[in-house]
């Protein structure tokens, strides 16, 4: 197999992301590129505009805590049952990040508009909420096809890159993603495409059967790919591995304070220690 599309590591992907870039990351169930996230911190990325599609967890908390993020656009930051996003809360209180609070379907719709490269898209809901009140970039117009029908318009979101992680790539660089079509949306909406890590490269052609083709993200949407074994760790990956709960507990303890968080970064990001499986 000649894989000239394959990079050496997640650090090679992170090297492509300039300071100030707009980066999309996905939900914990969709394949989170945690190793690329750590690589971004190692490379010292700054002033990122983080678009959580449509919310995020540990990846956002790490990037915020490490000072990589200037702007955070999200519907929620949550670890679910696995603790609290202390670094996000701390940055908010310090006024260290600009927050663009949204609701999930607004981020999805804006990314869909991005993938269609239409400048805006209307969405129901939101009018009369404080979410809309704090988003001067959203506009309410009178539905031109209705009467006395106010409707919100969202500007399209086109990230520079989407960070994604998938179970495997085929020999041509197409990614198997199954039903996780959020990854398709994120990759299509991104101007440069996805920076993708995979657990492995398999010597197969995903387009050879209608079943695997249906669950494939085509290579044309991928800017760069590298293998990162357990690349979503400590988050789980579908049928492949479970969330590392013990590690989340450890993180929750350390990330309560800036010092503890610095020790966490030192150990697990800069020195690249992964908990044993």
């Amino acid at each position: 197999m000649s894989h000239d599309w394959l990079q050496g590591s997640a650090d090679d992907l992170a090297a492509r992301v300039p300071d100030g870039a707009k980066i999309a990351i996905g939900v914990d169930t969709a394949g989170v590129a945690m190793e690329t996230t750590r690589a971004l911190i190692r490379r010292g990325a700054r002033d990122l505009h983080l678009v959580c599609a449509p919310m995020a967890g540990l990846a956002a908390d790490l990037l915020i805590g490490a000072g990589c993020v200037a702007t955070l656009e999200t519907s929620a930051i949550t670890f679910g049952e696995y603790g609290t996003a202390h670094r996000f809360h701390d940055a908010l209180k310090r006024g260290a990040i600009k927050l663009m609070d949204a609701t999930c379907p607004a981020i999805y719709a804006a990314l869909e508009a991005g993938a269609k490269d239409i400048p805006f898209i209307p969405l129901r809901g939101l009018i009369g909420s404080d979410l809309a009140a704090h988003r001067p970039d959203w506009k309410v117009i009178d539905n031109p096809f209705g009467e006395d029908d106010p409707i919100l318009l969202l500007p399209a979101i086109r990230p520079d890159y989407a960070l994604i992680h998938a179970p495997y790539a085929d020999r041509n660089g197409n990614l198997f993603i199954g039903r996780r079509r959020d990854l398709v949306l994120m990759a299509q909406a991104s101007r440069q495409g996805a920076l993708a890590t995979v657990e492995e490269v398999r010597d197969v052609d995903l387009f050879s059967s209608e079943e695997t083709a249906a669950g494939t993200l085509p290579a044309i949407y991928i800017a760069s790919t590298a293998v990162a074994v357990r690349g979503a760790w400590p988050i789980g990956l579908g049928d492949h591995y479970e969330v590392d709960e013990a590690h989340f507990r450890r993180y929750a303890e350390l990330a309560r304070t800036a010092d503890g968080f610095a020790r966490y970064l030192d150990e697990f990001v800069h020195r690249r220690r992964q908990a044993a499986e």
Binding site: D130, L131, P150, I151
Partner: protein
Amino acid sequence: MNVSRQELLIHTVAGLLLPCRSVAVGASSPIPGAGALLARDWAAREIPSRRLFLTILGSRRHNSMTSGGVELFDMAAQGRLDAFFLGGGQIDGEANINLVGAGGTYPQTAVRWPGSFGSGYLYYLVPRVILFREEHTRRVLVPKVDFISAPGPRNDGVYRPGGPIGLLTNLCWFAFDRARRRFVLETVHPGHTVEEVHDNTGFDFDGAADVPTTALPDATALAAIRGPIARQIAEAYPRFVAQVFPNAA
């Protein structure tokens, strides 16, 4: 018959969902999830058998969506989602909900919660939104929320085919009167009193002087909850089931 708080809530949720064709349950919601599974079981036992489509976010088995995370929201817009659950760090008497934060000045709130999730949209579009918040205190049920993630129904000309049907807590079930924009105390859970509800609610609400007690599950329902339903919800919420239904597995 000794019925736990969780069992009562699961049973109450199931009754509220029974009329539905399609229900979705958000993340971190084991009780709504179990209630939806029970309602689905009841619908399947009707003659003729009736199908209740159910999506439990975070579950791989009870999830039949194939278009990504946006599908839930599109489904709601299409009119294909009859019920959903929302909570809130604060809920006020006009059914405004706040999932963002309290105190301080936004965005530098004294307390910050995860964020609004899908509430700023689903609350307008899903016909039977059930507000579900176990903690029933004046800290949660406030006169006025500090931040409106999603506003309660109001007559402002905004497209709003959906909205809350009521609020279920550890103490009671409030229906919500959309015309009068007020909660109405419908039933109080066994072991609790109307007075206790008043004492712990920060907003005014309506209700007859003589409020009935929330119906308990019968033996058949209780056996279903403790057996098959507990085992089904364990796929998405193993820790909840280990704590509340240790004998289910």
